[in-house]
């Protein structure tokens, strides 16, 4: 990656949910940046805080019970956490757009695609209805919907799963966003359709130059599409580096554990090396490192001291006590 100013910087983000049963530290110290045209992967198991990170950036955290309690989200240098809801509405969908695993999250089942697309376009762009309709057709063609003009009058349920995903992508791209957040966009799809959608996103990124935050639980998808990666565990970033380093020299025991637990076709193992135990309850995190109870390399100190994210090696960040003594550059707490 060439040195460029990031379009988006997330700094020390903490988003907590204040529930009757206790405080859920859903996002606890997330820290990353992303440059124009770059794809950053956020990978982690369910409940690790990936979606809440995305929702925090979009300022869509339901409050109460949720609250962004600390941190900054700098978009082109401006902190989105200081914006009013009115200002955010201008940014959402125009500057930063989001797509989801289930396209019906962003498509309304009772309106035609035309109505929904034209409306989105008119909110943000200075066009008349006819121009907006033409733009909608253009977008549907861009995402590979055959006979796009004819399909404008269709309702979301009249499209197949893969095609609906394309329609949602077209909607998200309606206003040429500079950042696209894709939250598990292919998790519900079959591999052949997943391959089509990932290829489409890569093509669109090349043409439109947007930055993509790719949220996934699939290291295969990370390997395929990302430039850099942040691995999350229990609300915290545990490793953050470029893709090559991550796969070549994974540092965090959790990352290593993940890689060893997936079956690989190119290298069949007798037995998978599973990570023992379960992810922790975010309301009652263990003292010390959140991963310690499951970590095969944990020592006494891991049960009492919570590590911080440090830079260990060139742009390779890790949150683990095994690396802490050697360096002192603290990135996020």
């Amino acid at each position: 990656m060439k040195e460029e100013t990031p379009i988006l910087e997330v700094k020390q983000l903490h988003t907590h949910f204040f529930t009757k049963a206790g405080v859920v530290k859903a996002v606890d110290g997330v820290h990353f940046d992303i440059k124009p045209g770059e794809t950053l992967g956020i990978v982690g198991e369910s409940g690790s805080g990936k979606s809440i990170t995305a929702m925090s950036i979009m300022r869509l955290i339901p409050s109460p019970p949720g609250k962004i309690v600390d941190g900054q989200v700098l978009f082109k240098g401006e902190n989105l956490l200081n914006k009013s809801e009115k200002q955010m509405r201008k940014i959402r969908g125009k500057e930063i757009s989001m797509i989801f695993q289930d396209p019906m999250t962003s498509l309304n089942p009772v309106f035609t695609i035309e109505k929904q697309m034209v409306e989105t376009i008119l909110v943000h762009e200075n066009l008349n209805k006819q121009q907006a309709r033409n733009r909608a057709v253009e977008l549907l063609e861009l995402v590979g919907i055959p006979e796009a003009r004819g399909r404008l009058k269709n309702y979301p349920h009249e499209f197949s799963g893969g095609m609906r995903q394309r329609v949602m992508i077209a909607m998200a791209l309606a206003c040429n966003p500079e950042v696209l957040i894709a939250d598990e966009p292919t998790t519900a799809l079959d591999v052949t359709i997943q391959a089509q959608i990932l290829e489409l996103l890569a093509k669109l990124q090349k043409e439109l130059g947007m930055a993509i935050i790719m949220i996934t639980h699939d290291l295969g998808v990370v390997s395929e599409v990302c430039d850099r990666v942040m691995v999350m565990y229990a609300g915290k970033p545990v490793e953050y580096t470029d893709k090559k380093s991550l796969f070549k020299q994974p540092k965090h025991p959790y990352t290593l554990g993940l890689m060893n637990s997936i079956p690989k076709i190119s290298a069949k193992k007798e037995k998978l090396e599973a990570i023992e135990g379960l992810p922790p309850d975010l309301r009652a995190l263990p003292g010390g490192c959140s991963f310690a109870p499951r970590c095969s390399q944990a020592t006494e100190i891991c049960l009492t001291t919570d590590p911080v994210l440090i830079e260990h090696g060139n742009n390779h960040h890790v949150r683990c006590l095994l690396y802490e003594e050697e360096t002192e550059k603290v990135v996020s707490e």
Binding site: E45, S46, S160, G161, G162, M163, D190, V191, T192, I193, Q194, A195, Q196, L198, E199, H217, D218, L219, G220, V221, V222, S223, E224, K243, K244, F247, G257, L258, M259, S261, I262, P263, K264, I265, S266, K268, K269, K271, L272, E273, A274, I275, E276, L278, P279
Partner: protein
């Protein structure tokens, strides 16, 4: 190894009713449309294919949870296709099903003890024996004795799958049909459950039909693999041979579409166009021809049959794959 299960030209069609008063049948969803294969004692046959291709329906038809429309199912040499009543009930001891979502299949109002011992009660196992068996099952699936009095909602997804597995083993089955047993689990938990299933297979001499859409998982666990497309088997063979030398264009596309967690690996991707056609109105000729990069005229008119494509016994159904004599 002896053949435990043999399926011949199995079909399961679901009639489509037009909803009118006369319930006139308007065609059918050909969910499973003539599949044939054998499973040997102690092996794992993987069943893969995109969602909607008929994997679950095939599994349920074999277990006779669905009445087959046509074809024959032989289990331990006996034709069980027409089994009913008491005979079918007895058969259920020997064939079990593990579901993708154990939660949906575990009664939320029953304790773990009740859930696991229920099948034993149905088959009148004495109480003492039930208790012993329960403890043993909990132990082998990695649950503790204090879990007995708890309810399904108190468990995580991975633990619930362990409970489902324990229940399926309560009657010492020979064949377990596993329908996407790890698809809903996170990878670290998925590995735990896969390892468990492999251990149990050894320990109890189980035969698995392992249904999944995750081709890496199927590769890991299977001895042989069958690839389904629109209700038919398009390719079947020994796992390593099939994965390293897929002969059917659909298998090739499917395998090339898997994202592998290794950025150094560069592969050529065969992108197939479009979506799965509807199983109620499948294409004529080769069912794959609408998406196949190699389709020619003959593919639109004639449906290719499975034929021997390697000396090792691999079979594929494509007009353009060369037939090879079987080695003896």
């Amino acid at each position: 190894m002896s053949t435990l299960l043999e399926v011949k030209n199995l079909k399961k069609h679901f009639p489509i009713n037009n909803g009118g008063l006369l319930k006139k049948q308007n065609g059918a969803v050909k969910a499973v449309d003539g599949i044939s294969f054998q499973v040997k004692q102690g092996e794992t046959l993987g069943l893969v294919g995109e969602s909607g291709c008929g994997k679950s329906t095939a599994g349920r038809a074999i277990l006779k949870l669905l009445e087959p429309t046509e074809g024959e199912i032989r289990f331990k040499g006996e034709d069980i296709t027409g089994y009913r009543g008491e005979k079918l009930r007895k058969l259920r001891r020997d064939m079990q099903l593990i579901f993708q979502d154990p939660y949906a299949s575990l009664n939320p109002r029953k304790t773990i003890e009740q859930i696991i011992t229920e099948p034993m009660k149905i088959f009148n196992l004495p109480k003492q024996q039930r208790k012993k068996k329960l403890d043993r099952l909990l132990d082998v699936v990695g649950l503790s004795s204090y879990h007995k009095q708890r309810y399904p909602h108190e468990f995580s997804g991975g633990q619930r799958q362990r409970i489902g597995i324990a229940r399926s083993l309560a009657l010492d089955p020979d064949l377990v049909i596993c329908d996407e047993p790890v698809s809903a689990l996170d990878v670290s938990i998925q590995a735990q459950v896969i390892n468990l299933m492999e251990d149990l297979q050894q320990e109890f001499n189980l035969t698995y039909i392992f249904i999944a859409h995750d081709l890496s998982v199927v590769h890991h666990i299977s001895d042989r693999v069958a690839v389904m497309y629109l209700g038919q088997i398009v390719e079947i063979g020994e796992v390593e041979e099939l994965y390293s030398h897929p002969k059917h264009p659909y298998t090739q596309a499917l395998l090339s579409a898997i994202p592998e967690a290794d950025p150094e690996l560069s592969r050529e991707r065969i992108l197939i166009k479009g979506d799965l056609p509807s199983p109620s109105d499948p294409p004529l000729g080769c069912k794959f021809h609408t998406r196949c990069p190699y389709a020619e005229e003959i593919c639109r008119t004639s449906n290719p049959l499975l034929k021997q494509v390697s000396s090792g016994g691999q079979q594929a159904a494509c007009h353009f794959v060369k037939e090879v004599a079987l080695e003896h």
